[in-house]
């Protein structure tokens, strides 16, 4: 059965990369075939990924959230899932390239580093609150990633309008107002989810870990991220943090998340699971 998991680990990155390539062809080159196939391919990829996650959970007898790399794999899945939902709801069909690119990177990293271990490697993770804590963290970070992607699209279109470059990419982008509203909504979803992560964490962590500490790098890092996004959402109306500024903010915010989390993972005391 481990063989099946190994095959999936090879196939999934290939599928994600192919889907990103199709989205890229449609976005940059207006390729007709890619435009037709991309969403179908993405849905196929997501279905297979879901089957993999379900099978893996059943086979290894633990949810795929007990190590950083398992988490990255689920994060890649949830980011693409969020994107495909947005694509269906907004009918904006061309902009998936960046979301798929990030998903691909996550799935590739997960495929290389995650180990197939039966049962729980860390017994402390055998807990119902874990699912809640981790799921909201996934939703939150997927939403922040999406908001950064919309920030990037906003800046691309802004720049094209300013420099009067009316090319294929310009044609394939939706309008600034929609991008900004998607950006704002994903940030809001991310912030709410992160708030939830922190609340559940504070209930569960002190109970679960003997060596729990409020000064742990991961807790402090998450709290800083929460503060940054919270204050941005709070002052954006008052200080006219709209338009280009909010786009820049969403990208900078996500970079901070990435850097802080990378450091926090290394520095963290009790909250580390490889």
């Amino acid at each position: 059965m481990l063989l099946v998991l190994k095959i999936f680990k090879l196939v999934l990155p290939v599928l994600y990369i192919t889907t990103s390539w199709l989205y890229g062809r449609a976005f940059f080159k207006d390729d007709a075939l890619a435009r037709r196939l991309k969403t179908k391919f993405l849905i196929l990829t997501l279905i297979l990924h879901f089957i993999y996650l379900a099978f893996r959970t059943a086979e290894l007898k633990h949810p795929p959230v007990t190590s950083v790399f398992e988490l990255l794999c689920v994060l890649g899945f949830s980011l693409s899932l969020a994107y495909v939902l947005i694509e269906t709801l907004t009918k904006i069909k061309n902009t998936g390239f960046f979301a798929l690119l990030i998903s691909s990177i996550l799935v590739v990293i997960a495929g290389i580093f995650s180990k197939d271990i039966y049962g729980f490697e860390h017994d402390v993770l055998k807990n119902e609150l874990l699912a809640l804590h981790v799921t909201s963290a996934l939703v939150g970070y997927s939403a922040f990633a999406l908001s950064a992607i919309y920030g990037l699209l906003y800046i691309m279109l802004y720049h094209k309008l300013r420099t009067r470059t009316f090319d294929t990419v310009y044609k394939n982008l939706p309008n600034l107002e929609i991008i900004e509203s998607l950006l704002y909504k994903s940030t809001l979803v991310g912030f709410i989810a992160l708030t939830f992560v922190i609340i559940v964490g504070f209930i569960w962590l002190p109970r679960a870990f003997q060596n729990f500490s409020y000064a742990d790098a991961k807790l402090v890092g998450t709290f800083i991220v929460w503060l940054i996004y919270g204050s941005w959402l709070g002052i954006r109306r008052v200080k006219n943090f709209t338009g280009k500024k909010s786009a820049v903010m969403s990208i900078v915010g996500f970079i901070i998340v990435f850097v802080l989390m990378a450091f926090a993972n290394v520095l963290s005391g009790f909250h580390r699971f490889y």
């Binding site: 007709a32 279109l157 309008l161 300013r162 009067r164 009316f166 090319d167 310009y170 044609k171 982008l173 309008n175 600034l176 107002e177 929609i178 509203s181 006219n240 709209t242 338009g243 280009k244 500024k245």
Partner: protein, 421 residues
């Protein structure tokens, strides 16, 4: 096929001549029955500002295309302007292909023109109303409608704004999601500016302020666009509330300078502002472009959008041609199926097929010698049964007009279920 097309279009004649041969739909309704009665069995007259084309199935071989052309010229009294050299003549499948090209917008002056398909439909409906559409033109025109629809949905032949005024609207829609929640301001009045304002109004812009040096002109425009007249010195104040500004005045000084726009932006909470400056010399200080969330575009931007879109349309022509090839092939298939010889062959094949299937079931019940006899017997039975229908189908083509023959063959094919496999 006795299909004939005579026509004049923007490639063969200038507008002065074309407008002389232009028939309104009402005129078509009067003229078409007359033409058909004199020369044709079926006819459709398509007339737009860029073309006048008569598609017809000839009554007899004596009718010459020149007669039709002369009739079209004479009926409009355009003899002093138009002559035979302005017209083209096409026959049979060439004429069909031409109609498919027209309906899909690739024969238009502006490639991908969306109006033409509707005009072809109108022309067809008038002809149906006159009772001059038969089996052939029915099939030809429905092939054309299908082709036009496919070209529009399967290719980008009619996508994107290709006129400067529409390009301005397209630009606005790249910045704002819903124009009906936005306000506009029109300063001055040039042709392009007015057209742009008109398009914005038709997209449902919620409010339009109009500023002009002459109040009467402003009031006239305000009435036309359901807008509000403001004075020129109110412009900087109004800038706080509007989202799209179209400016087209002839002044030596800037109507809007850097500080005015900068102030307005901080008052309007930095919300995006689109300024389209098509005045010559320019009405808005180009430095305004450096202010965040301000998009200052001029006639060059609009022209390059229109040009890029048009080039994209041109690159779609091969795809449309491909659709035309497919549809024409289907049409030819339909036409050939309604010929006498293939129908007779199909009928005989079908009967032979049934005969073979049936006697095969009895192969083991006869000795080889008897089986041979049964084979011969059934063969001659089928031949006898099919003799009269075969002769009658063959005779249907003698001296009868093509559309009637096609109708008859259509009946035969339905009766014997020849189109089902």
């Amino acid at each position: 096929m006795d299909l004939l097309l005579v026509g004049i279009n923007h490639k063969t004649a200038c507008v002065e001549i074309r407008e002389k041969i232009y028939y309104t739909l009402d005129e078509v309704e009067n003229v078409l029955p007359e033409i058909v009665q004199m020369f044709l069995k079926e006819g459709v007259l398509l007339s737009t500002c860029n073309r006048t084309e008569l598609y017809g199935v000839l009554k007899s071989e004596d009718v010459k295309p020149e007669d039709l052309i002369n009739f079209l010229i004479a009926k409009k009294g355009a003899g002093d302007f138009a002559n035979l050299s302005h017209f083209y003549i096409m026959r049979s499948f060439d004429a069909v292909r031409h109609l498919l090209e027209v309906a899909s917008g690739i024969d238009s002056m502006l490639i991908g023109d969306v109006q033409i398909l509707g005009q072809v439909k109108d022309a067809y409906e008038v002809a149906v109303k006159c009772g001059v559409v038969g089996t052939i033109l029915h099939e030809v025109f429905h092939t054309a409608f299908r082709t036009g629809k496919r070209a529009k949905s399967e290719t980008s032949i009619s996508e994107g704004a290709v006129s400067v005024s529409y390009a301005a609207v397209e630009l606005a829609e790249k910045i704002f999601a819903d124009l009906s929640k936005k306000k506009g301001m029109l300063i001055g009045a040039g042709e392009t500016a007015e057209l742009t304002a008109k398009h914005l109004v038709s997209r449902g812009i919620s409010e339009l302020y109009i500023a002009n040096r002459t109040i009467e002109r402003a009031e006239k425009l305000a009435e036309q666009f359901n807008g509000k007249v403001i004075k020129l010195d109110e412009i900087p104040d109004k800038l706080v509330g509007v989202d799209i500004v179209i400016s087209s005045v002839t002044v030596s000084d800037y109507i809007l300078d850097f500080n005015q726009v900068k102030n307005a932006m901080s008052k309007r909470a930095n919300k995006p502002l689109l300024i389209i400056d098509i005045g010559v010399p320019r009405n808005v200080d180009p430095k305004v472009r450096e202010i965040e969330n301000v998009f200052l575009e001029d006639i060059d931007s609009l022209e390059s959008i229109a040009k890029a879109n048009y080039e994209r349309r041109l690159s779609e022509i091969p795809k449309v041609q491909h659709i035309i090839d497919e549809e024409l092939k289907n049409f030819i298939k339909w036409y050939e199926a309604h010929q006498v010889a293939p129908t007779i062959k199909l009928l005989r094949d079908r009967f032979e097929e049934i005969r073979k299937l049936e006697i095969e079931k009895y192969r083991n019940k006869f000795s080889p010698q008897d089986f041979e006899k049964v084979d011969i017997l059934t063969k001659s039975l089928i031949n006898k049964l099919l003799h009269t229908p075969t002769v009658n189908i063959r005779e249907s083509s003698n001296g009868k007009p093509e559309s009637e023959r096609i109708k008859f063959i259509q009946f035969v094919r339905e009766l014997f279920g020849l189109d089902q496999k």
